[in-house]
Subunit: 101 residues, 2 copies
DNA sequence: TCGAGAGTTCGATATTTCTAGAACTAACAA
DNA sequence: TTGTTAGTTCTAGAAATATCGAACTCTCGA
């Protein structure tokens, strides 16, 4: 399987990041990744069919929110914390803080 | 003209706020309101027809991002800074910081 | 080389969001 | 009244998103 296309850190757009996080399933995925560090797609599917889940992972990738790498038959997803923090300081923390505490 | 319906501070949803701010025109409106304090709808139309602008103002209202009050024939819009800060500390600042010096 | 597991891609459909003209309403001034 | 300004609401169509089954690709192990 070929490598995924991720936007360069400088190309990450605020509007697209906000859009990417405006969906409940995607936000849940991002929260999980923030906690777990990394996870496969199947581990975060929320009970939906895999084609739907794959679609949402693609959205998150395209928006520059997560990175996906290929590890054998499994795809490992990570939050692009450093890139997001560098470009939009405090944004991710403010969003992830919600629903805690 | 009857009063507008605004969500109660406790009812403001993160997903909807993020969605509301994920559009360039709406984000521009919010930035302006952050600078000016308050403004009429027409002052922030970005050259679009007024039905379109009215639609976006309604989205921002429904999401709990702005409040609109009636002052004679003009509608005055303000950012719901305090409500947003109380519910999502740091979120608005992180978003507004983008695109500043 | 066969099969299984993990995800992607395709295709069709459904839902949501966006755009904008036209008609409408409210507030005010002449 | 009548007209003007400001904005909403209606309506219809366009565009973007979302959903999900089915077929496909990759990788690995038996």
């Amino acid at each position: 399987m070929r490598a995924f296309k991720h936007p360069h850190p400088d190309e990450i757009e605020l509007e697209r990041v906000l859009y990417g996080l405006s969906d409940p399933l995607r936000l849940a995925i991002v929260r999980q990744l923030a906690d777990c560090g990394e996870a496969s797609c199947g581990a975060l599917d929320g009970g939906r069919p895999k084609s739907s889940v794959s679609y949402h992972f693609q959205v998150l990738r395209d928006c520059g929110i997560i990175a996906t790498r290929n590890d054998g038959p499994v795809h490992i997803n990570t939050l692009r914390r450093a890139d997001l923090n560098a470009r939009f300081p405090g944004l991710l923390d403010a969003i992830l803080a919600q629903g805690r505490g």
